[in-house]
């Protein structure tokens, strides 16, 4: 198994003034597609910046491909591909010229050939590649950024929200592309909160919340562990019913996540019977009840709920 490990974070802590962005983050990255999943502010972007040596960890160690992320960052950057949330380029150059420059900086043997090759991969081999980047749409920039990340067949490709800015068609294309590249032996670390998409490509997932990894493992085995009898309800107002639910004997735990309540029950049937009565007693309005299934979204919500309880 160790041969398959591409990277390891050990108790990484990073504080920005008072705010702890990472609070003892520990996880491993394996060959294949790794999903870094977490709500807004979980610390995904911070983790990625730290991987590229743009941020120095306060304590803990972060290594990728056997290199220390901060101290040996230059060696690491030679072997890694990266796409940030908001990709930035030399806007006065054309897409192709920018890639060619980046390919030269990566010391590739055939900068022009390899640039054209990655442009073709991301479906960007039209005349737009000869136009100045300043005139590109957000989607075109995203595609160009993706092409940049693939340049030079990196040993690990890190993508921060690769499908943001793309229309549904573009998203599907990117997911398909990732699947193709995965079969060719590329490895990825992908951060996203569009879980239905990640589900289609990830082998291994790391669930992050509040700057720590709350769950991690093979996607298939994590999904099979999702317990039944977990409900997601949306009630307005929220507060009074929480106390009532906590007193119910069929209820194990109640956790607010975003504007939902995640309710873990002992007895799903009993809970469903009691719920309308409780809502009425709390003088509240029930907007939505959903039993969680075994998909990544449920796994994510439950993990966040359990993470909060610890």
């Amino acid at each position: 198994m160790t041969a398959n490990i591409l990277g390891e974070f050990e108790g990484v802590v990073k504080r920005f003034k008072e705010i702890g962005a990472l609070n003892g983050l520990t996880f491993k990255i394996y060959k294949g597609v790794n999903g870094l999943i977490g709500p807004n502010g979980a610390g995904k972007t911070t983790t990625i910046r730290l991987s590229l040596g743009l941020i120095k960890p306060d304590t803990g160690s972060a290594t990728l491909l056997g290199f220390d992320c901060w101290k040996q960052s230059l060696d690491l950057r030679q072997r890694i591909g990266i796409l940030y949330e908001k990709p930035a380029f030399y806007d006065h150059l054309s897409g192709l010229d920018h890639l060619k420059l980046m390919a030269k900086l990566k010391k590739l043997s055939d900068p022009l050939g390899e640039s054209k090759q990655v442009l073709k991969l991301v479906d960007f081999d039209n005349e737009a590649q000869y136009r100045r980047i300043s005139g590109y749409s957000a989607g075109m920039r995203q595609r160009l950024g993706l092409a940049h990340a693939l340049l030079g067949q990196p040993e690990l490709i890190i993508l921060d929200e690769p499908t943001s800015n793309l229309d549904p068609l573009g998203r599907a294309q990117v997911i398909e592309l990732l699947n193709t590249l995965k079969k060719r032996g590329f490895s990825f670390l992908i951060s996203s909160h569009i879980l239905s998409e990640l589900e289609k490509v990830c082998d291994h997932v790391i669930l992050m919340n509040g700057g720590i990894a709350v769950r991690q493992g093979m996607l298939a085995s994590l999904l099979s562990e999702v317990p039944s009898g977990i409900f997601r309800i949306k009630v307005h107002p929220n507060e009074p019913i929480v106390d009532l639910l906590k007193q119910e004997e069929s209820v194990k735990s109640v956790t607010p996540v975003e504007n939902y309540l995640i309710v873990i029950t002992y007895n799903a049937h009993k809970f469903q019977q009691r719920l309308p009565f409780l809502v009425a007693r709390a003088n509240a309005f029930l907007e939505e009840v959903k039993m969680e299934g075994n998909d990544l979204e449920s796994l994510f919500k439950i993990a966040v709920a359990q993470g909060d309880k610890r």
């Binding site: 940030y84 990709p87 030269k104």
Partner: protein, 274 residues
């Protein structure tokens, strides 16, 4: 390490970016304006007195004066360009792209800094040297022309290193374009104001200690060439008392005083946080 092809391309891309429209146009216009304004004043004086010969003398004497009078806007302009290059790139996320590419931080810093400083030095030098050639046409000796043209280059370079280093320091600390540009403009204006307009004790103290990156290399050069340049900023007795090496040391000091700390900070500790 001899710069390879890729680094030259990177440098070229940075220069194109830093000098894209309308920056180059503004720079040429402003330098031309101040240069011509200076010549114009001199021409007026010499024709009014009816002595064309005095034109030659006036120009010869005032070459470095004219360059100095440009330092107000040059230092500010230089500072603004450096601030744009560092702070705006940080804000727009391009610094993140550069620092994530397989190029060392030293290279990124030096490429960005000199993509502003070198073209600006050359531009200023070419345009102010045109005064020297007017000087030549009005009957001065070839040696004087060449000597002055040669002196101008390092003097401009050191002064711009000083201003640019200051601007890099400000913009990498503030990490915001508009506050950095404003700070640099205000600082440039106050330095000029204190060292040239006020002639009282404050002005002199300012000159002695921090505000003379321009005359100091000039004096150092004039000592080596065995000529005495009339200082347009009064350095008082210091100019005559201090030995030559002090002026060399001071020149290096001015060039590096901000640059070295900000370089060390950028290569060792700088973080991308947004």
């Amino acid at each position: 390490m001899w710069p390879n092809n890729a680094l030259i391309d990177l440098f070229k891309a940075e220069i194109q970016k830093a000098w894209s429209f309308p920056i180059l146009e503004i720079a040429v216009g402003l330098i031309a304006f101040t240069t011509i304004a200076n010549i114009h004043v001199l021409l007026n004086i010499s024709t009014q007195t009816g002595l064309l010969a005095s034109f030659s003398i006036l120009i010869s004497d005032s070459f470095f004066d004219s360059l100095y009078s440009q330092m107000l806007f040059l230092s500010i302009f230089c500072g603004v360009l450096v601030s744009l290059s560092f702070a705006r790139d940080y804000e727009q996320g391009f610094m993140q792209t550069l620092l994530s590419s397989p190029v060392s931080r030293s290279v990124v810093f030096l490429v960005k800094f000199f993509a502003v400083i070198l073209p600006l030095t050359i531009l200023t030098w070419v345009m102010t040297t045109s005064i020297v050639f007017l000087n030549f046409y009005s009957g001065s000796s070839v040696m004087v022309v060449i000597e002055k043209a040669l002196w101008a280059l390092p003097v401009i370079f050191i002064a711009l290193m000083f201003c640019g280093g200051f601007a890099a320091f400000i913009s990498l600390s503030l990490k915001r374009t508009i506050p950095s540009v404003l700070t640099v403009v205000l600082a440039g204006f106050s330095i000029w104001y204190i060292s040239t307009v006020t002639s009282d004790v404050v002005g002199n103290i300012a000159n002695y200690f921090i505000l003379t990156p321009f005359p100091v290399p000039l004096i150092a050069l004039s000592r080596v060439f065995g000529r005495v340049v009339t200082p347009f900023i009064s350095l008082g007795d210091f100019e005559y008392v201090l030995p030559t090496w002090v002026f060399w040391v001071l020149s290096v000091f001015y060039a590096l005083v901000f640059l070295v700390p900000v370089y060390v900070y950028f290569t060792r500790r700088f973080e991308i946080r947004e």
